[in-house]
């Protein structure tokens, strides 16, 4: 590749160390020019201590990992700078690199280079992306398994089944005079196609779990102001020693954090209290809360044991179906004034955050809602990203069309057309067929750096 790129490759949260990564033909030269040691003559795959300097000013005390190509992730020279001074110094280091001839990497560009340089195949490239953003152990296992190719194997085996039928049909077509060869009859086709259909269904079923493992699930806590939403969040997070971050840009305080239940990432989002208001700014917050709840996988509706439900509460409760909704009645230590309408059939947990009480039940309820127990015990060959899922869906659609043609008494050459497309779609998942748009699509879905 022509130029040298750099990016901060650790997440921009609070952490002890952040890493700035540089790759390209001039990676070593550029870092050398801002480092008070020398790297050029050093052995590959070694670590060096020193300082990043801007003219005479010392910016940060760093450890530098030197990896010379081709035995690197991108096959080009890679230099990784471990910065210790927090986000603003890391940004500064990045800035200096940019001033000295690096270009800021596009999202996923490191992996794109690894791919274009033939270091990794398409599926690996996608899995690496998954690895980058894996939040929990299970997600990491899933990502590693994809790199190792369990999913590849699975898809390959389905493709082999299809290609076997295709080949048999082709023989029947190209050598019709050979009556001894197995004739792929409509009955046989029907049998084979249905078998393959089941396998595709299994892949798609797994896809849901794959997505849950990779992205986690979103749990929104909603309710009127001061019913104890934030306390519930803090309790759940404290216990798990998770990090609470303020997401910038949101109107009024929407806070989220991630905990792990059965190794699945649970993103808990605390929303602004919902109430009737004339305040324009608060209105925006209220609407935002409603939007978040709408998109969440699970909604925890929190009410105060000590207060009656308002009209708005009831309206809100009616919005979510029971599959998604958990009701938590907080402040069980106070006098019960709340009256639960009889028509509400959802699970209700009563507890308080002072004792605390009922929070384990709440976690259990989340777990049950998503049937999380079923997920982890299965093997890890799930489809994990939208592109893979989309392709399997397309393959399935083609297969369904093929079955339709079969039922519609179409001749075998017509039936075969869609079967071939199904085969090609599956091939695209593992990079066995080529479509030019593909590469750009995948890589624009990548996060920054590795």
């Amino acid at each position: 590749m022509e130029d040298t790129i750099c990016a901060i490759s650790t997440s921009l949260g609070i952490g002890a160390i952040s890493i700035v990564r540089v790759t390209g033909p001039d990676a070593i030269k550029i870092v050398d020019s801002i480092f008070d040691g020398t790297l050029t003559e050093k052995e590959t795959h070694t670590i060096h201590y020193g300082h990043i300097k801007k003219q005479e000013e010392t910016i940060d005390e760093v450890l530098i990992m030197l990896m010379k190509g081709p035995k690197t992730y991108t096959t080009e020279d890679i230099v990784e700078i471990n910065c210790h001074g927090g986000i603003s110094t890391t940004n500064k280091v990045l800035e200096i690199l940019l001033e000295n001839g690096c270009r800021l990497a596009e999202p996923g560009e490191f992996t794109k280079r690894a791919f274009l340089n033939g270091r990794i195949n398409l599926l690996e490239a996608e899995s690496v992306n998954d690895l980058i953003i894996a939040k929990t152990d299970a997600a990491r296992t899933l990502a590693i398994n994809n790199v190792d190719g369990i999913l590849t194997k699975k898809i390959r085996s389905i493709r082999e089944k299809i290609v076997k039928i295709l080949a048999n049909i082709e023989v029947n077509i190209d050598y019709p005079e050979y009556q001894d060869e197995l004739q792929v009859t409509k009955e046989l086709m029907d049998k084979y196609l249905k078998e393959i259909n089941i396998e595709l269904d299994k892949l798609l079923d797994g896809a849901k779990n794959g997505r849950i493992i990779k992205n986690g699930i979103n749990v929104a806590i909603i309710g009127r102001p001061n019913v104890g939403k934030s306390s519930i969040l803090n309790h759940l997070l404290d216990e798990e020693k998770a990090i609470v971050t303020n997401i910038p840009g949101t109107t009024r305080d929407i806070v989220e954090g991630t905990i792990s239940i059965n190794s699945v990432a649970i993103n808990i989002i605390d929303t602004a209290g919902i109430r009737e208001t004339e305040d324009e700014v608060e209105k925006i917050g209220v609407n935002k809360s409603k939007d978040i709840a709408k998109l969440a996988d699970i909604v925890i509706f929190v009410a105060n044991n000590n207060e009656k439900l308002t009209e708005e509460d009831l309206e809100l409760l009616g919005k979510y179906n029971s599959e998604k909704l958990i009701i938590f009645i907080n402040k069980s230590d106070l006098e019960q004034k709340i009256v639960i309408p009889k028509n509400i059939s959802q699970e209700i947990i009563i507890g308080n955050t002072i004792a605390p009480n009922g929070l384990d039940e709440l976690k259990e309820a989340i777990k049950n809602k998503l049937k999380l127990d079923n997920i982890i015990s299965k093997d890890m060959s799930y489809l994990t990203n939208l592109r893979q899922i989309d392709l399997v869906k397309k393959a399935k659609k083609s297969l369904t069309n093929s079955l339709k043609s079969l039922e519609g008494q179409m001749p075998v050459d017509i039936i075969e057309i869609d079967l071939k497309s199904a085969w090609e779609y599956l091939g695209q998942i593992i990079g066995d067929t080529y479509q030019e748009e593909l590469v750009d699509n995948i890589f624009s879905n990548f996060c920054l750096g590795k």
């Binding site: 791919f115 274009l116 190209d174 019709p176 009556q179 001894d180 080529y434």
Partner: protein, 618 residues
């Protein structure tokens, strides 16, 4: 001084010289033996799956093969009739005496064409440009372009057991030096192998124990311009024969005596046309292999034993043949043999079939690594057309993969090369629903008209056909089935479910159980068979056909992404070394062609695309 010299009077040479002469070029056909022009040295048939469609395409472009086959066959049938419109294909048993005779007659009557008997042993080359040919006697004949269609005659060797006899088929003389000369001029020569089975004397065959295979009772023609000229009731039959355990044992016991397994041969044989010993070795668990007995001619008694090609010595062949049921007392009139011959590596030719190294030199047929009369004819006509266009300083005719099987054939050859004789299969075509038997004229006649191989009259006939097709489609759209007692009765009689409402005939025809003939119970359809067939296919498979055209368009976009001729693949650092080598060697014209090269994987195409974008902003 000729404008075009064609070397070789086989199926490629015939189409090449005929079309060149038709395009008004002063053409010379040189052949080793004039009596063998249009000869069928191997199987006595024209057509077959995919191949039959090539014959139609040659005809659509103004060629001879289909027209001559129509007046020379003794049996004809439509293959894969029940397997769908995309894979239907005609196959005829051509009479091995009549076919060459009719072909020679047709060439004699071709204006601008001279025929000469001589063996060509060298080319006249000046500045990497061909200027003519030199015969075995040293005679120099000058021509502006030369088309080589040498078949199996370049250093041909006939192999029977350990016997190795230099020569072409029928004991004809071979060309001893031409392939060496081509090598000297810079071409890479490859060695290929093919084979032909025994011929059996008719009286010695017991047909009564064999299964008979008859021709179709429907009349067919290859040519779009012919009407059927035969009586379907009076066709010759073919017969099925099977190998058995005894046959297999004889072959296994004597394997080392065959030329191929004994190590007497060097050429690479085709996978799709294995010798019987190959079949026994590779499919050891198969209890029997199917063979066919086909009549070669009405004028002599040889029957062709298809599927039994071998390079075993004669005594073993006797035993093998006699082990077959019905052939216990068979008299072998010709023993099976393998033949090795030189060909050029087709990666050295352009899609126009002109040579990349020697200008104005074209090649077609087996010399390009193919097998089969039809594959040869398909290339021959393109070589003839493009040599003529070159003389007129016009762009060559390059058929796309979505235009014709001929397009697929040539693209495969010049893009992927071949290490075995290449045979066309329907599965090689990704757009076979477009490349049908029935629409070859609709696909190609316009090209023919543009380059001058199709007359104005023939072209107007095509336009008329197109008009009628459109008319009939509209007619079926505009008219609706009336649900009355009489019509109900007809549906009931045919056990076909009656539609609920008065739907159009167009919609009705989409139903799988209904064909266009059934519609004639309700509505007058006064059109020829070809029009009705075309309309039926277009309506019935409309959705699928539309999809195929869409796919073809998508590919076309990649075909339009041209790779600059001066590209230096060495400069593309991230290209895998295998891909670099292949691209350097083949120098594809487009990204689409590059993506079809084996060994060039998607990553390489991506790298190449990135490079083109960067360097040329393509």
């Amino acid at each position: 001084m000729y404008e075009i010299i064609v070397v070789g009077g086989g199926h490629a040479g015939i189409e090449a010289c005929h079309i060149a002469a038709k395009m008004g070029k002063k053409t010379l056909l040189i052949t080793g033996n004039i009596k063998n022009i249009g000869d069928m040295p191997c199987n006595p048939s024209i057509g077959g799956t995919a191949k039959g469609i090539i014959v139609r395409e040659v005809d659509a472009l103004g060629g001879l093969m289909g027209k001559i086959a129509d007046i020379s066959h003794i049996q004809i049938k439509m293959l894969n009739n029940s397997k769908g419109p995309a894979v239907r294909s005609l196959r005829a048993q051509a009479d091995k005496i009549t076919y060459p005779k009719n072909m020679q007659e047709a060439l004699k009557n071709t204006k601008n064409l001279e025929i000469k008997e001589a063996m060509v042993e060298d080319l006249i080359i000046e500045e990497q440009t061909v200027k003519g040919i030199i015969t075995a006697t040293g005679e120099k004949i000058y021509g502006k372009t030369v088309i080589l269609t040498t078949g199996t005659y370049l250093k041909g060797n006939i192999l029977i057991g350990s016997e190795n006899t230099p020569g072409g088929p029928h004991g004809e003389a071979r060309s001893n030096y031409l392939s060496d000369k081509l090598k000297e001029y810079g071409l890479k020569i490859i060695r290929l192998k093919t084979g032909t089975p025994q011929r059996i004397k008719k009286d010695s065959i017991d047909f009564s124990v064999m299964k008979e295979e008859k021709g179709d009772l429907t009349s067919w023609t290859f040519s779009f311009d012919n009407k059927p000229m035969y009586d379907p009731e009076k066709q010759e039959s073919c017969y099925l024969v099977y190998t058995n355990e005894i046959t297999h044992k004889i072959i296994r016991d004597n394997l080392k005596k065959s030329a191929m397994y004994g190590g007497y041969a060097t050429g690479v044989g085709p996978r799709y046309c294995p010798s019987i010993e190959d079949k026994i070795v590779r499919f050891a668990d198969k209890e029997r292999h199917q063979l066919f007995l086909e009549p070669e001619s009405l004028y002599y008694d040889d029957w062709y034993l298809q599927g039994f090609s071998t390079s075993m010595p004669r005594d073993i062949q006797e035993k093998m043949v006699h082990s077959l049921k019905g052939l216990e007392n068979a008299i072998i009139t010709k023993y099976a043999y393998a033949i090795e011959y030189d060909a050029i590596d087709p990666l050295q030719i352009y899609p126009s079939l002109e040579n990349k190294i020697i200008k104005n030199l074209f090649t077609a047929g087996q010399i390009n690594g193919t097998s089969g009369y039809e594959e040869a004819a398909g290339q021959g006509i393109i070589a003839g057309i493009n040599a003529s266009l070159k003389l007129d300083k016009k762009e060559p005719l390059i058929l796309k993969r979505s235009d014709a099987y001929i397009g697929v054939l040539i693209d495969d050859l010049v893009t992927k090369g071949t290490i075995e004789p290449y045979r066309m299969l329907t599965s090689r075509a990704e757009f076979r629903l477009i490349l049908r038997h029935d629409n070859a004229d609709l696909r190609l006649r316009e090209y023919g008209y543009k380059v001058g191989t199709i007359s104005k009259k023939e072209y107007e006939k095509l336009l008329e056909k197109k008009k009628k097709i459109e008319e009939l489609i509209n007619y079926l759209k505009e008219n609706h089935l009336k649900i009355n007692e009489k019509n109900k009765e007809i549906f009931n009689e045919n056990k076909i479910e009656l539609p609920i409402s008065n739907i159009s005939y167009y919609e009705l025809l989409k139903r799988p159980e209904i064909n266009i003939n059934f519609l004639e119970n309700f509505i007058k359809i006064d059109y020829e068979y070809e029009i009705k067939e075309q309309v039926e296919i277009m309506i019935k498979y409309e959705g699928y056909i539309k999809k195929a055209y869409k796919e073809a368009e998508k590919l076309q976009k990649l075909e339009e992404k041209e790779i600059p001729e001066d590209i230096d693949y060495k400069k593309i650092i991230n290209l895998a070394s295998e891909a670099k080598q292949k691209l350097e060697k083949i120098r594809p014209k487009t990204i689409a062609q590059a993506s079809r090269i084996s060994g060039v994987n998607p990553v390489d195409i991506s790298v190449l695309s990135v490079y083109l974008k960067k360097e040329y902003n393509k």
